[in-house]
């Protein structure tokens, strides 16, 4: 049995600093109708919490969607140095979850139906589903169609789904927008707890994450159609 199986991931990282990057992007390009939007020659992102910055329309959401396997791309996207998005589509997607900035779901489905559907696919245990629903206090609304939800409620459903299963990497696109103060704290708490359990996070936000008390390990900038590391003091 490997060390990773018997020790929590954060301990593995501590004991083995040469652990592979949680996410590797190589020669990654993404174009829309022939117009280049992203070009990332080579980037290794270490395990941890990372903040992705960038002006509106610079390609943060596109990058997230590519990493989540939602959009076609050229190049290589590798998780944990072993799961290639193209060659291991099931194993990769089992370990990478995504919470959208502005979730769009079929309005006739209920929040419960969406969560149940994603939970089954991500192999999430029922107690995890119940715990997340309980913590976000959304049980009263979940059995009504999402077309009746406020933007904050939709966001909570999206974040609940992003934490389902046993992911290695969670991508949260603007996780704090439209949420009330209580939910914002809860999201920060979940990220903190998740990190302690070995989950890595890529967060995009226009707000400063260092103010939320999260141990942000690095800051990345999406600009001029590429991704670069920004000097950051923790």
């Amino acid at each position: 049995m490997s060390r990773e199986r018997i020790l929590p991931a954060f301990l593995c990282e501590f004991l083995n600093p040469s652990m592979p990057a949680i996410l590797t992007l190589q020669n990654l390009t993404k174009s829309y109708s022939g117009r280049l939007v992203l070009s990332v020659p080579a980037v290794d992102i270490a395990p941890g919490i990372h903040w992705l910055k960038g002006q509106n329309g610079f390609g943060k959401t596109t990058l997230f969607k590519v990493i989540a396997g939602l959009l076609p791309y050229a190049g290589t996207v590798l998780l944990d140095g072993q799961f290639d998005l193209r060659r291991h589509p099931v194993a990769y997607r089992l370990r990478v979850n995504y919470g959208e900035a502005e979730p769009v779901y079929p309005e006739f489905l209920t929040g419960w139906e969406l969560i149940h559907w994603v939970a089954t696919a991500k192999q999430a245990p029922q107690h995890q589903v119940d715990a997340l629903i309980d913590r976000f206090a959304v049980a009263d609304f979940l059995k009504t169609p999402v077309g009746t939800y406020s933007s904050g409620m939709l966001k909570k459903v999206s974040i609940i789904m992003a934490f389902l299963g046993n992911p290695r990497l969670i991508l949260l696109d603007e996780p704090l927008i439209t949420l009330d103060q209580q939910a914002t704290h809860l999201v920060a708490e979940l990220i903190q707890t998740g990190r302690e359990q070995g989950i890595s996070f890529l967060l995009s936000s226009h707000q400063d994450f260092s103010l939320s008390g999260l141990p942000v390990e690095s800051v990345w900038q999406v600009a001029q159609q590429t991704l670069t590391l920004v000097p950051h003091t923790v």
Binding site: K65, V90, A91, N97, Y98, L109, V118, K122
Partner: protein, 365 residues
Amino acid sequence: MKATLTVLRKTIVQAFYRQNAGLLLLLLFVAGSFMRAAEHIALATYAIHAPAMLLGYIGLWGLYTVHASRFMVQVFRANEFLLLLRLQPVTGRLGSLWVIQVLLLTPVIAYAGFVLTLSLLAHTRIATGMIVGSLLLLTTTPLVWVEYTLLHPNPDRRLSSLRIILLGRFTTPYSLFFIRHLFHRQPVLLLLTKGGSCLLLVGLLWLYPTDEYDIRLPALGALLTGAFHAAIIYELYRFELTQLLLVRNLPVSLSTRFVRYAIILALMLLPELVVLLRNNPVDIDLSAIVGVWVFAHSLLMLHYGLLLTRHRSLDRFMPLVFWLVIGGFFLIMYKLPIWGLAGICDTGAAMYFLRCYYQASWSAL
């Protein structure tokens, strides 16, 4: 007023025609394929001399008007910024809404204009009066509904107790997501497609015993059934890429995904299966008639596979469907076995699906 009209045209008229392109193309396909120009003229000429028939026409125009007006009301409810229209003077506001209503009813007005021309040439005063009167009513009365919506925004929408019980007890399986979407957002397209497809199959199966036909006749029916469903297949493609993109993040193998789409489309074609089995002529054995259904299903799968290869608008997808119908027609007439045809289509569908599923993406055209 010009700025108001531009906003309303882009948010209501363009959105309406974009969303209903499939329905309108289906109507054009049905009207264009079964009837020649002379037959259209004969039918309209009969209608202007028979008020009951003309009332049927007006009823259909009314149904279209209800559909278009309902769409306009939904747009006003979904886009609160449009409520700013209330700040305009009543006459200007009603004028703008009337123009939008006329633009939404363009297909009805065009056809009514054709019938009206025949009526004027034939000097049928009652028919002329009925057509002009109905057009005036159809373009003005829905404005009362729209005006009411503008003055009473955000109505308290309560779910019926039966719906609350159903939503609480049952969970929709993924295979039914799209079918629920059709019932919810595209009921007219669904009704017309299923109605047209089932009526065509019933007609062909009743025709079968009247002469020395063989399995090629129902096979041609299956070929047209596939073509009838092109707009629905396009809707499936649009639905998954715009409203259910999350499905691509789920850890599901390509082969399982392919089987799931096969199940969705099999459920979609269940009414046709029932029609085929209930009206099966005595001298066609069960495996052959099931083969006809499997062939229709494989055509739907092939349409979906083709859509994944490259993003196209619906009007660019329809010529592909047309060429498939032409190719299928010759293969059927050359007596290729029905199960063989189904196998060819399913193989093509699987090939396109496995190669292109993750490459497909929606882009505004």
